[in-house]
Symmetry: C2
Subunit: 272 residues, 2 copies
Amino acid sequence: MSHAYAFYGKGGIGKSTTASNVAVAMAKLGGKVLLIGCDPKHDSTFTITGHMIETVIDTLEKKNYHAEEIEPDDIIKTGYMGVAAVEAGGPPAGVGCGGYVVGETMKMLSRMGVYESYDVIIFDVLGDVVCGGFATPLQWAEYAVIVTANDFDSLFAANRICVAVKAKSAKYPIRLAGIIGNRIAPNQNGNGENGHELIDLFANEVGTGLVGLVPADDTIRRSRIEGKTLFEIEGVNTKPYENIANVLLCDPSVVIPTPMADRRVFQVIGNR
Amino acid sequence: MSHAYAFYGKGGIGKSTTASNVAVAMAKLGGKVLLIGCDPKHDSTFTITGHMIETVIDTLEKKNYHAEEIEPDDIIKTGYMGVAAVEAGGPPAGVGCGGYVVGETMKMLSRMGVYESYDVIIFDVLGDVVCGGFATPLQWAEYAVIVTANDFDSLFAANRICVAVKAKSAKYPIRLAGIIGNRIAPNQNGNGENGHELIDLFANEVGTGLVGLVPADDTIRRSRIEGKTLFEIEGVNTKPYENIANVLLCDPSVVIPTPMADRRVFQVIGNR
Ligand SMILES: Nc1ncnc2c1ncn2[C@@H]1O[C@H](COP(=O)(O)OP(=O)(O)O)[C@@H](O)[C@H]1O
Ligand SMILES: Nc1ncnc2c1ncn2[C@@H]1O[C@H](COP(=O)(O)OP(=O)(O)O)[C@@H](O)[C@H]1O
Ligand code: SF4
Ligand SMILES: [Mg+2]
Ligand SMILES: [Mg+2]
């Protein structure tokens, strides 16, 4: 029984860090996992493969844009714990149309039968979903997962993503599995808050719940510098990612989210 | 003598937070400042105006897309310390073409003579520069400023932005004024590091320097929840933003950056 998850969330919130660590956690539970980077920056999978692999757009270019000549082995590379990796890639910053590349990559992978070849597919999608192309992973995933932090800007972005998920749910099987709270830091103001009170408010407001929580941990920042997931580093706590993997693999409850109007985001998350 | 700055950097790194605070700092120094949000999420200026203003795309829609009927007063709103604000806006997440909206807004503001009406223009541009539209602010700004943190992913993104700045510098007067290090946290590993050693390495490698440093400060996170810049909050330290304002206003040294190949980013920033 194969499952497909699409990770969305504000840019820089930790989607790639979280998705790659969850991918390894799922592989350790026995699944054949494919991690698909849907970002022109192609930085979703380097901690799996140890370097930045050739992207789909690089491969297309090499084959003079004869997409039919592309074999899975050209674009799918296997790394740590047997996790497989693909990077859609895209044009350099400020050039071309990155949304088109991601949209076409989604279709190409489908035509190649890739989605049927794995127990778990994880789409790691860039932060700014500025056009239809970057919403196409929602047409191929079963579960949407939104990564956020306990702050206004990432929750405001999460709300906009809920609008996209809701829209796609009308025509596709995609549903929202829930929120991952990242960079959680309890007791910031010495008031004893649990560090995710705004995330809880948000989740409740849009009709969903928490899939998991990952603490703010400098080990995680340093793991990206070292180009590894936490699982490859001695003596670090991988439990937050293992917990998320477990929740996501065991038939998580899903909803069609009920996003808020912008003004309501201010009332719920902000102080007015 | 008017100056225009374009703030770029990884999504979620703190561009909007930094740009809005720097805008107020510049206004306090006597400048007539215009802050322009170049992000479909239109969340660049709410801490200036106290709410999310009608965007250019909203206004266009109201006028049945008769762009020539738009007056500056329709789209420019004035807020705290007299800072003026515009939001390009864009389509909802996953729909339409956000790059086109930003590109067209840049041209419209030029046709309306807006760029000549202010001492300071600050473009606050979204993180994922996935197409030409989001690079258009570089055609109207004099100085590019890249916001980053002391981590791999934001520096990798900064490098890609350097590629875009370098490309635009061939045809336009845009030059890189430098890097703003944000969320700086010294001594994370108890090794006494200053918290920006990777940023310094990066800046050196691409031929630029630091415009300023802003510490990781929960007051900043909370200011976004309250919908205010730090200047509107009692008893908080606004010096980091004032320092940046001073550097940027006083003829900062500029360069055409020398971006690295991806592999070199790993060697310089990562551990290989
Ligand atoms: N739980 C965490 N604790 C500390 N730092 C984190 C955590 N999650 C992510 N980061 C930091 O955030 C940076 C950006 O993460 P990344 O996965 O690239 O975000 P995204 O894919 O959403 O743009 C990482 O380089 C790392 O420094
Ligand atoms: N110096 C800082 N210290 C602590 N938190 C910060 C700092 N700068 C930004 N933030 C946090 O980062 C979040 C995202 O900032 P934002 O300005 O929206 O980023 P961007 O415009 O680059 O996407 C803010 O809501 C705030 O919580
Ligand atoms: S917003 Fe999307 S569709 Fe429009 S040009 Fe940019 S990447 Fe392409
Ligand atoms: Mg990412
Ligand atoms: Mg922003």
